[in-house]
Amino acid sequence: MSFRFDRRSVLRGMLGGTAVYMGLPVLDVFLNGNGSAYANGAKLPVRFGTYFWGLGLTDTPTGGTRWVPTKTGPGYEIMPELESLSVVKDKVSVFSGFRAIADAKANQVHWSGHASILTGIAPASASRFDGPTFDTKIADAIGTSTRYKMIDVDASLSRHPVSYSTRTGTTFASPETTALGLYTRLFGPGFQDPNSDNWKPDPSIMLRQSVLSAVKDQRDALMAGVGRADQIKLDQYFNSVREMENQLAIQLQKPAKCEDCIVPAGPKEGPRSASVDVVNANTKTMAKLLAMGLICNQTRVFTFVHTAGSSETYVAGQSKIYHQITHDEPTDAQLGYQPQTSKIAGMVMQAFGDFLVEMNSIKEGDGTLLDHMLVMGFSDTGYAKIHSIENIPMFLAGGAGGKHRAGQHIHTTGESVTRVSLTAMQLVGAPVGEFGTGTMKTSRPITEVMA
């Protein structure tokens, strides 16, 4: 074993894992010698993220839609619940009429919808997903040359941290839940300013690498006589060790210059309540930090939760939470929808609009950060009152480096949500040709939005 970081030690680390291909882009960085694989002026990187909010949008069986535009193709009209997207509308595609198909399985409320979108598999129970989520596949493909393979954020300020990103189906990511936590992770200890003139490799990093080698050396002994479920768990554990090694290896490289990277000031501790105004403010603050983290090459992949499937958010002073209101509020006979629910849905969507505006307000190259990323926005249900998993609102936002023909409304009648997921994967260059199982299996991306 050597304290020096060399090619052999990287190979050992990578080949010990399950998927060798995921190590290769890193190796390219190392072999490059000066760590400039993404700073050679050729091309700005494409980033990917998911943005989730709970309780869908309003589209009642009686026809009172508040979000599905009438016009399809480019130039769709802004519907009331999509008001917050109007500023960035030309960079956002709207997908309506897509559904999660549970086949013979029950609709697990506030679970089957996003489980289907993210894994392509209708889940058998509400306590786990039946496969890994596709964001991890994208991270394996495009996330290995940055300090973090991916960053998970939960802005909901709810009782338990929420993340829907998983490699095993049972262990979900532990997300950053406060702006301060996110700031510390991105710009706290271990952050290397790419624009600093006196960069020196930190010798303690090599010592920390040796700690991990001792752990990894025992992998085979530990794996012996292990059951199937535990093997999956241990694979994930060693995957986490490898990601840590990768982080350390990258910190030994001089970071490529990045003029757009301006280290933000540390945020103050905000109030902690699940009321929608506080959650939206938290979303905005965390979006701003995340955007700079992306610009500064700390990560290329993220998952962002605004509110959980069974959302706990509420309007301050109202005794019922939003979730209860979606179920209890009667449909107004004249309007054809639930007025209070629709109003709160608009507030919840305000945060998504704000999130995208933050991404769009940072200049990068000849465009904005949003032009060089793809964000898939989606929810757990369509019409929340009846836990519908039909017509789940889905969005693709951002230019994906010129690959996404944005600004369109795509409407189908009951096609699988996995088509949108597959489209997202292919737009950011994940090597995936087919996604989903059962009726949701698809190899057809939505080519109308692909340049």
């Binding site: 709810s158 040796s210 002994a221 479920a229 699940a274």
Partner: protein
Amino acid sequence: MHGIAAAAPVAVAQQTSPELKPIKVAFRRITESQYRHTIADVLGSEIQINARFEPEKRDEGLLAIGTPQLSLTSSGFEQYFALASSISEQALSGKKQAAVVGCKPADAAKADEACARQFIAKYGERLFRRPLTDIEIATRLKTASLGAQQSSDFYAGLKLALTSILVAPEFLFRVETAEPDPGNPQQYRLDGYTKASRIAFLLWDTSPDEELLAAARSGAMHTEAGLKEQLTRLISSPRYEQGARAFFTDMLQLDGFENVVKDPAIYPKFNQSIADGAMEQTLKTTIDLLITKKRDYRDLFTSNATFINRPLAAVYDVPFLSAGEWVPYTFSPSSERFGILTQISFLSLFSHPGTSSPTKRGIKVNEIFKCEPTPNPPADVDFSKVKDSTNGTIRGRLLDHMENAGCTVCHRRSDPPGLALEHFDGLGQLRTTENGVPIDVSADVAGVKVVGAQGLARFLHDDPKVPACLVRNVYAYGVGRKTGIREEDYLADQTKIFAGNGYRVPDLMVQIASSPEFFKVAVPSAARTAAVPSAAATTAVQQSARNQQGVNP
């Protein structure tokens, strides 16, 4: 390298070797409190532990059942890695250094193999809960030696070696191992170290101490007398309280207080000190009644003796006259405050941010105390008949559910216990009206008419499902897995003994930990690439592949 991985496929190919190979039956991620207790025991209670721990998972009512299903995410590993470095730094710096290390290097500026080996073997055994293999020691010796060279500091090398122990899966997971039973070589038994860990975590919520490890080493854990001696020692120790607290925190789901949310516009009295106090009140009450005074478990529902502090007194609306932090307090016999269900903890945890919730409370009464889970609601419930009620009481709205055939089955069971508790709002404050209308707290619980919190408490006190559920919870908590049909008779027998002993909780825990079933091996389904060791094990493997809770027959 361990010989097992290479040997297993050969054994299968030949189909001749009748010998079972050791297997790992479970990887149970250690909880935050187990981590804290272990570090305090092994390296000193003054060590500061500042980290965000990975979220746990509750399954079938217990975190202890969910945790064995969990792995470690990359952000979680980052946290444990930083924490391990910080612990090593604290443990091996300053005045403590000499005492912790226990030997002196020949030259403090250089590597010293003998002293490093002694340190690694000693702390490795305490933290892995079993002796380290030669290779496990050798890899850490290498780390220590290179670290010492690089920094010209023997102790810097030890810090790295200790860090590598603290981030190893063998520390972060309780690796439960089974070996062939010498008395019956076709059967597995848990090895002595795994048995020692099971009772240490059950009774003390921490890793085995030196004495337990010695009992595992000598084989005493496999004898009835040896096991009994250890159980008696553990249950008589003051540290048993720490173990009992961990059990009741899990069972009563008090971890929910870490993130409880209330709307300050509706409950201005709620704040962090109320949340902390409410949790502590329930633990103090439970420990005092069941562990210190060794009273009948069922008295938990009916005893009006508790402890309060100043912030809680404001919510309970009772005077607090002491200068101390906590004082014993007994609610008057006529008070609606009666037993554990009327404490702020239960009432506020299982409510909405701005209202009470008879359904949530009822579901939790059934789940926590009777081990009766409520299925998820059907997906396509149409609530359109349900009127928006800003008037009247919540009972009316729930009655609408009761009229709906799809909802009735569950709501008829979940709502009544909650309706009996409706004199307490979403924070747990007493009230008798809602929207100006008097609240009716009568309810039909499983065919019995009860009135209010006292009525519900008396009903639960006499419900035979309640002690049976505790027995199941103690067992499942200790073994870390769901119970199934195979364990029904065993649990029924244990419940009879529990009743015969006057429903005393410490006796129950010892009784369960002394029973052979507590150490029964549940063979996991085989890994995809690993071979199955023997025909006898194959049968069990196939059975448990269909049913994760299947145990070795």
